[in-house]
């Protein structure tokens, strides 16, 4: 393909070529074009079909979610509807506090370790590093329910902590850790080697280069990856549902049982009360908006830094 060949006159090979093309493609051009247009149209239809669920989902979220959100929704504790007061659902303040507490504790546990491991993977070459890389990639795709099983056996049972916020945030931290490791590694690796070499040439020690040169240069990538990890953890139900026991108070204490937004969605969606099933759309809307804001800000942050670099 790369060789420069002499340009041949079309008339010399014209008829033979035509026969050759006939032989390879036994159908007429009109038929091939018709088939092509049909298949391309099918692909376009597939694109539309894949957009349908998103549109339907968002439509339902806003249509049914917005009406149930008011001030009490954010500030009051949930109450169980009864026959006398079938619409007394209360708010979901316990779940909001619980989700924030779980996310903050999990971030405190996962972010420092994740960044350290990411830098380690990017900056060293060893058997440990390459096996940790495979482990991180495999763990990043592990089913989230397994983090719940891990947190239950290790924190709730073996350490005898009981059903608590700390057990839930441990599960979320295990979930976030590989994501932070992988994105930190990529960000640190993307720092050009010339920067490191400039530091070495000036006689800087490895940790000085790493902390003063490489980390600032890769900060945007690390922040983006971390926000994505947090936004993934916020919406997870499976890992926390096994270990946090769904508390009914606004508690920030690590060793108390807490609730979480995804968990209240799960519980309320299965409820017999129509009022609770209506409220669940509001919870879902709050959760989805929160996650969209987080992941869009991560994306915008990343693209802005990209522009600065260019």
């Amino acid at each position: 393909m790369s060789d420069m060949t002499e340009i041949q006159e079309p008339k010399e090979v014209g008829n033979e070529m035509r026969g050759e093309i006939r032989r390879i493609s036994s159908h007429s051009r009109a038929r091939r074009l018709a088939v092509s247009r049909m298949m391309i149209a099918l692909c376009a239809i597939a694109l539309l079909v894949s957009a349908v669920p998103l549109v339907m989902l968002l439509y339902q979220l806003f249509k049914q979610g917005l009406p149930v959100i008011d001030k009490a929704f954010f500030t009051t504790l949930p109450s169980t509807p009864s026959l006398i007061a079938p619409n007394a659902t209360g708010g979901v303040s316990n779940a909001i506090v619980g989700t924030l507490a779980l996310t903050i504790y999990a971030s405190v546990m996962a972010i420092p370790v994740g960044i350290l491991v990411g830098i380690y993977l990017a900056e060293t070459e060893s058997k440990l590093a390459s096996s940790l890389r495979v482990i991180a990639q495999t763990m990043a795709g592990a089913p989230s329910i397994l983090m719940g099983l891990f947190a239950f056996s290790f924190v709730v049972r073996d350490l005898n902590v009981g059903f608590s916020a700390i057990a839930g945030s441990f599960a979320l931290a295990v979930l976030m850790l590989p994501v932070i490791v992988i994105s930190t590694e990529i960000a640190v690796r993307n720092v050009p080697n010339t920067l490191r070499e400039a530091g070495l040439a000036l006689g800087a020690k490895p940790h000085v280069i790493s902390l003063r040169v490489v980390l600032p240069a890769s900060a945007s990538g690390i922040v983006t990856g971390t926000i994505l990890a947090v936004s993934r953890a916020v919406g997870e139900t499976a890992p926390v549902m096994l270990v946090i026991a769904g508390g009914f108070t606004n508690s920030w204490k690590p060793f108390d049982p807490v609730s979480a937004l995804p968990l209240s969605i799960y519980e309320n969606a299965k409820s017999e009360w129509p009022s609770l099933r209506a409220q669940v759309w509001g919870i879902a809307l709050v959760l989805v908006v929160f996650i969209f804001v987080l992941s869009l800000s991560a994306r915008i942050w990343a693209s802005r830094k990209q522009q600065v670099k260019n």
Binding site: I40, E125, G141
Partner: protein, 328 residues
């Protein structure tokens, strides 16, 4: 390669090819080096603990009831026997059907995004796909349970049952709530679609332009280029995307727990309720004790093996694809 890394989902799913790095000579190893090493060892310990603890907790089941778990049909809380066959078959049924749906629609979508959408809109589409992937699975489950399930019950199930042929395949559960293995497969298919599209779109987009133009210049139509050049070149990577989507589908928990019906029956008629491994753990874990927890942990071990196997295969395939493209 840089285009691949721009996509955060893709980067996270596949990681980067390892490229170099340096080891400081022993003399210059400072506290910083040991700090990094400590972090790495902690991470290794967490990973080993993750696999080890779950396996250790499931040990009683593997020692005494392995056959029941793998081949038994009933799940009798709280004392047993705990048979896992219904969950295993349910996992395979739902995720394979979901995969077929997602691959058919997703492949068409990726082709349309790469070859039909103007270049300047691609970033918008990529953002939309990422947002779809960011919607938590509980929200898909909620939507499936409160919107799709009633629709299945009132419209789809009677319609399928009005055809004798379809009735024989899907079964006629009569009065149910609309939650079924079929609904779980559909919701799962919708959920894994963004993952599949994100990766297959990248794989298709990096097929060298030279090949496409060469084929066009020979008089091939657009579809002939796609079928004859693009798809064969991207084949290995597309298989990788498929396996990764399958791994996602097998591990999906709460959405399936909400829409599959949560019944532990070995069931091949898709309109009947069923469950999957992950969904069953989520459904019954809260009320289980002793041996039942061990049995659920053993189901977790099965899920882990399945998921890790699938994701290792898919990563290997995508890495091979990158090497193939590097040669072109």
């Amino acid at each position: 390669m840089s285009e691949i890394l721009n996509e955060s989902i893709v980067a996270l799913e596949l990681g980067d090819e390892a490229a170099g790095g340096y080891n400081p000579p022993a003399a210059s190893r400072t506290w910083y080096h040991y700090l990094l090493l400590a972090g790495a060892i902690l991470f290794a310990a967490v990973s080993v603990g993750f696999v080890g603890t779950i396996f250790w907790s499931s040990l009683p089941t593997w020692l005494h009831h392995a056959g029941t778990l793998l081949g038994g049909k009933g799940w009798a809380s709280p004392l047993g026997p705990f048979g896992g066959l219904a969950m295993i078959t349910g996992t395979f049924e739902t995720s394979l059907i979901a995969l077929v749906l997602a691959v058919i629609v997703g492949l068409g979508t990726s082709i349309a995004i790469v070859f039909l959408i103007p270049r300047r809109f691609r970033n918008v589409i990529a953002t939309l796909v990422e947002l779809l992937a960011a919607v938590p699975s509980i929200v898909y489950g909620l939507w499936g349970l409160l919107v799709l399930a009633p629709w299945m019950e009132t419209t789809v199930n009677p319609w399928l049952n009005s055809w004798p042929f379809a009735k024989a395949i899907f079964g006629n559960p009569g009065q149910e709530f609309g939650t079924s293995l079929l609904l779980a497969s559909i919701v799962l298919g919708i959920m894994i679609l963004p993952t599949f599209v994100a990766i297959s779109r990248e794989v298709i987009a990096v097929v060298p332009q030279d090949l496409i133009e060469a084929s066009l210049s020979l008089g091939a139509t657009r579809w002939q280029v796609i079928r004859g050049v693009v798809l064969p070149t991207a084949k290995i990577g597309l298989f990788g995307a498929t396996f990764l989507a399958l791994a996602r589908a097998t591990g999906e928990t709460v959405a399936v727990a909400l829409v599959a019906g949560g019944v532990a029956n070995v069931q091949f008629h898709l309109l009947y309720p069923g469950t999957s491994i992950a969904a069953w753990i989520a459904t019954v874990f809260g009320e289980s004790q002793g041996n039942e927890i061990a049995a659920l942990m053993a189901l977790g071990v099965l899920l882990m093996l399945l998921n890790f196997g699938l994701s290792l295969v898919s990563r290997w395939l995508v890495r091979r694809q990158r090497r193939v493209l590097a040669l072109v």
